[in-house]
């Protein structure tokens, strides 16, 4: 198991906390919370805990691409059980959508 931390610049703030997904085989859960008091409101702080070691670069690429398009600030926690990049992106989009419902993403 590996724990990875990333920060990405962000313009919009998550409106609400959301929980998406399950730590099931080939899947992951995402906990997204709006920035806490004292956090930078222009930062997406991402912590990934993954059961599969050695994919740091892939994680960075997948997350970078997502946050370039969906610039959502807050605390992101990803608990991963071997999800493929496609599933990760799907779950990220689901979380972003649920956290900004009735608002337009930048």
């Amino acid at each position: 198991m590996q724990t990875l931390n990333y920060d990405f610049p962000a313009r919009q703030v998550a409106a609400r906390a959301v929980h998406i997904g399950v730590v099931a085989s080939g899947d992951l859960e995402i906990l997204l919370e709006p920035p806490a008091a004292g956090d930078h409101v222009d930062n997406a702080a991402v912590r990934v805990r993954t059961s599969v070691d050695g994919f740091d670069t892939v994680w960075h690429e997948v997350l970078e691409r997502f946050f370039r398009r969906t610039s959502l600030a807050g605390r992101w926690e990803l608990n991963d059980f071997g999800a493929t990049p496609g599933v990760v992106t799907l779950r990220l989009r689901q979380a972003a959508e649920a956290a900004t419902e009735n608002e337009t993403l930048p």
Binding site: M1, H19, V22, V23, A24, L31, E33, S51, N79, D80
Partner: protein, 580 residues
């Protein structure tokens, strides 16, 4: 697909209804809880953002889940106050760990407190579990014992409804809890069993159970078969609305009259087992005819097949200690594999090997069908004999057993239900005021220990290398968790609940004393004196202590080791009622 297969999966639905239906099985745990509760009534307690995850997984390199894979949701069903405990089958195969288990038992206990205070609060448990999470072994095993006890505490006050929808089904110790429920609802896709097919094949060989034979698996464990043999109360299709309606019916029916629960029907179990001969085992289809679809004693039980040869049973620790502690008086064999010795103040019970056991998978001292029945009968007899006594006699469970019986006949007959009968009996004795003391003198593994030992007020163990307490024997646990035995030994050094060492078991908070003896195999007079004194102390503590299992969370060791369970208890208490 044949017409028969279609009919089975439709379970009474037309194909038009099938097409319109909302699948329940496809929902995750939260989705299932939402599907059962009245709209907008759902409130999740100890949810993902409370981050009560398992403290034992990350150190083993396993990604934890923020709610440990169990959703506790309060709400109403047609206005009735209800708590849903939904197990997420995707996370660790729904395995019961310390936190997920404590969430269920504490929710049951709080529902019990509300019910006693005048608001009957039903609990619906959505069983989707492979059993105890082997990565949290002994803490998972204990969690199941606490869940069973809490189900039995609540059941007279408010209904406890079990739902097994699939696709994981219910296996392992949690199936004992399923066997204790007021009502059990299944789908045709559900499976209920004590031992899963793969484990039986691993332990007993492919001729005992071919775990690749899916038709066989569902014929033995499947929801339809369990319903047809009255081991489940309702068979409904995989349709969220139909399952919700069945849950509502079960809640509206209220509590079942005492004595009528399946797990209290020692008589039905006895008559069913009397006509089951493993030497001429019926097919699962024939079993339906033999046992019938109602849970009543079978009128003319066929006499059990006689055994001509009686091989000398091997000497074991269980036998030696039982004999030594009861003053050398010849113990009575309730059946050859269950010994009982009744002294003035206590009854001693032990499960021992019987080389001629007609249930051949229970010949080495495993707890099987007839052992569960004999234990339950003996415990129930003592409750009855002492019902007017001011001081109830103690029950000393002498524990030296390799496991439960891993066998196809055992599963077909519903070993989980037989064990539920024993669990119920021990719980009934404990709550009636009989001090129950488990004395572990040898191995105490898995479902065997759940049935014979873990419902005790007090647990004592010999401090001896031959004493081994665990959720599964080492070789099997290694195979199932895809580790080597060496890796398991390494992990056990830091992950206390995984250790096979009795000194580590004593750190978990529910071992009340470790006893040093000179000879654990053949107790010396001095050993007998030591252990007898320890039993007397334990009986005294049990008489002045709580009748439930709360002392397991309040002990000094629990404060250190079971801090996660205690955090669950505190958080559920804090969140139980909505903030004003």
């Amino acid at each position: 697909m044949t017409d028969t297969a279609n009919t089975e999966l439709l379970a009474g639905q037309t194909w038009q209804q099938l097409l319109r239906r909302r699948s329940f099985i496809e929902l995750d745990a939260l989705g299932r809880a939402s599907a059962l509760l009245d709209p907008a009534s759902l409130r999740v307690l100890a949810g993902p953002f409370d981050r009560l995850e398992s403290p034992w997984l990350e150190p083993q390199g396993i990604t934890p889940q923020a709610d440990d894979g169990t959703v506790i949701a309060r709400g109403t069903v047609e206005g009735h106050p209800v708590v849903v405990a939904a197990i997420e089958q995707g996370f660790q195969g729904g395995g019961t760990g310390e936190v997920s288990g404590a969430k269920i038992s504490q929710a049951l206990l709080r529902a019990g407190a509300d019910s006693r205070a005048g608001t009957p609060t039903a609990v619906v448990i959505l069983f989707e579990t492979g059993g105890v999470r082997l990565q949290e072994a002994n803490l998972g095993l204990n969690a199941v014992a606490e869940i069973c006890s809490a189900v039995l505490d609540l059941r007279p006050l408010a209904p406890v409804v079990g739902v097994v929808a699939g696709t994981v089904g219910s296996f392992g110790g949690m199936s004992i809890a399923a066997g204790l429920c007021t009502r059990l609802i299944v789908t045709p896709q559900a499976r209920i069993g004590l031992n899963g097919p793969a484990v039986i094949e691993q332990e007993g060989g492919v001729e005992e159970f071919d775990s690749t034979d899916h038709a066989l698996i569902w014929a033995v464990d499947g929801g339809e078969q369990r319903y047809a043999t009255a081991l489940a109360d309702a068979l409904v299709p995989d349709d969220a609305d139909r399952i919700r309606a069945a849950v509502h019916d079960a809640i509206a029916a209220g509590v079942t009259e005492s004595g009528r629960h399946r797990s209290q029907r020692v008589d039905v179990l006895a008559s069913r087992l009397a006509m089951l001969d493993p030497a001429a085992a019926p097919s699962p289809r024939d079993l339906r005819r033999m046992w019938g679809g109602s849970y009543d004693p079978i009128p003319i039980p066929v006499a059990a097949a006689g055994v001509d040869t009686r091989n000398e049973p091997p000497g074991t620790r269980g036998r030696s200690w039982l004999r030594a502690l009861t003053g050398g008086a010849a113990p009575q064999a309730i059946i050859p594999s269950v010994l009982s010795a009744t002294a003035e103040t206590a009854r001693y019970l032990a499960v021992v090997p019987d080389p001629d056991n007609r249930f051949y998978r229970a010949r080495q001292g495993q707890v099987g069908l007839t052992e569960s029945l004999a234990l339950a009968q003996s415990v129930r007899d003592l409750i009855e004999a002492d019902k007017d006594a001011e001081q109830k006699r103690a029950i000393i469970a002498v524990v030296d057993l390799p496991s439960q019986a891993y066998g196809r006949n055992e599963e077909m007959a519903g070993l989980h239900q037989a064990m539920a009968v024993t669990t119920d009996a021990y719980h009934a004795a404990r709550t009636a005021g009989h001090p129950i003391v488990a004395l572990v003198v040898g191995t105490a593994l898995s479902g065997g220990f759940l049935t014979h030992g873990l419902q005790a007020n007090q647990i004592l163990a010999l401090d001896d290398p031959g004493v081994e307490i665990h959720a599964m024997h080492k070789a099997a646990a290694a195979r199932i968790t895809l580790r080597t035995v060496d890796e398991l030994d390494q992990l056990a050094k830091t992950i206390v609940p995984m250790s096979y060492d009795v000194e580590d078991f004593a750190k978990l908070g529910f071992c009340d004393a470790l006893l040093t003896v000179e000879n654990a195999d053949a107790p010396t007079p001095h050993d007998v004196e030591t252990v007898s004194a320890a039993i007397d102390d334990a009986v005294r503590r049990a008489r002045s202590g709580p009748l439930d299992l709360s002392n397991r969370l309040d002990s000094e060791a629990a404060v250190t080791t079971r801090h996660a369970s205690r955090a669950v208890r505190d958080l559920l208490a804090a969140q139980w009622n909505p903030e004003p």
